[in-house]
Symmetry: C2
Subunit: 266 residues, 2 copies
């Protein structure tokens, strides 16, 4: 029985100034996955670095002020792992994994970039290395009788239903054919994972989890669904509820992403 939330905070220090703390205090989740922390633990206030009632783990990027993922868990994990074994990304602040009893849960922040740039090439290298890792992780977990849940900002919308203007974005990073095909492999035989939110809501547009700060994207709900719960099928089948906490970042707008929460039954 787990309630898990993932949210890209777009700078935890800025988010904390604008209300992240009260959101965290009010959440019923027992696992929170954070992305784009953009700070080293030492740059965070005590109450944020070690929040009351949580075990907190940080994987900052070597580059200051960039990326950075974290995991907050109500119970203490048995094991932690930073990175997924690809040296280029080991200290890039993009992957942090924890073993809880019967469940491996990870916070992922996949690179983003504009089409045709070096950043996009980096994203593609990440994708190429990460898929085999994911597949291997699922197989090892199956052998151990564990479930796996990779939460985070994957920076890719999978299908037309996953963003407002899919036609206009077919040549934009985040909805490129090769990115979508890669996600299909994650969700297909090769990866063997399930897109939890889409499985529960097969016919909705969205629910979006990111809206650009530019223009009136949030007000018009011109969003993208790029933050996922990616789970082994058995775990996904146990999900009884999944939703985007649009209101959490609405009034105070402490991030351009909204938390994505799923409740996994026993």
């Amino acid at each position: 029985m787990h309630t898990v939330t993932t949210v890209n905070v777009n700078g935890l220090r800025a988010a904390a100034r604008k209300g992240f703390g009260s959101w965290l205090a009010g959440t019923g989740a027992d696992v929170v996955c954070l992305q784009e922390v953009r700070a080293e633990p030492g740059q965070l206030d005590d109450g944020l670095r070690r929040p009351e009632g949580w075990h907190a783990y940080w994987a900052p990027a070597a580059a200051k002020g960039r990326a950075g993922v974290a995991l907050l868990t109500r119970s203490e994990p048995e094991r932690l792992r930073i990175g997924f074994g690809e040296p280029e990304f080991d200290d890039s602040g993009r992957y942090l994994e924890a073993d809880l009893p019967g469940l491996t849960v990870a916070s992922l922040y996949l690179p983003s970039g504009e089409a045709g740039t070096e950043r996009q090439a980096e994203k593609e290298r990440f994708m190429a290395a990460f898929l085999p890792y994911l597949a291997g992780l699922r197989k090892r977990a199956a052998d151990d009788g564990r479930e796996v849940l990779i939460c985070g900002d994957w920076n890719i919308a999978h299908q037309p239903a996953d963003l407002k203007n899919w036609r206009a974005n077919q040549r934009n990073a985040g909805f490129l054919p090769e990115e979508r095909a890669w996600l299909s492999r994650v969700f297909g035989e090769e990866g063997g994972y399930t897109d939890v939110v889409r499985a529960l809501h097969p016919d909705t547009a969205g629910p979006y989890s990111w809206w650009s700060y530019r223009g009136r994207a949030f007000d018009n709900d011109t969003g993208w669904r790029i933050d996922y719960h990616v789970a082994t099928p058995q775990l996904a089948g146990r999900c009884v509820k999944a939703y985007v906490e649009r209101a959490a970042t609405h009034a105070e707008r402490w991030s351009d992403h909204a938390p994505v929460t799923a409740v996994y039954g026993p």
Copy 2:
């Protein structure tokens, strides 16, 4: 008859957001010298670039967001000059000169830097080139029967009375022996100029015109007098009133400097 104000605005766009406009609307000056504009004219709102009732002249630095001086005059100058003939500093946004009838007035922003750095070396090169220019300017003006007034942020406190903690600052840029000696030459035979505010207030501590943003420098009046009216002696003798508008940047604090105003009688 002139009322002249000089103020380092520490970024005119930021100052405008915080109340520079209402200060300008309320000033009785007919010449305003600005330093650290930190913007090209095109980056300023219309009302700021061409303020109602003023002629406005801008000398931005080639390096974006750095330095930049300006002159606002109620009457149109006969001539304008950017730089003082030293190529290194011609487009550094540090010197702008205007000829009004019988008066040459300039806005100066002398480089600042930390002792022992390349910035300090640049400051010293500026000082070395600027003193002969000043001396020549005074002589030419004398031949023409003109007065000269160089207003601005000279980034040097001259004497112990010109900063709160002079003992602690003897090795800090802005109060180094060589900088003080250079100002003494400006105010001595070689330059031939007068420190207008000090001439009127020979026995006051300060009045300071800059307070660091760090700590409680402003509240404790831990300030420096580094913004000067530097005038030919005859003009200085006509000064009937000289003061620092501490309140102008107190309530709203639109700069770390305060305006320094002097009234020159006929």
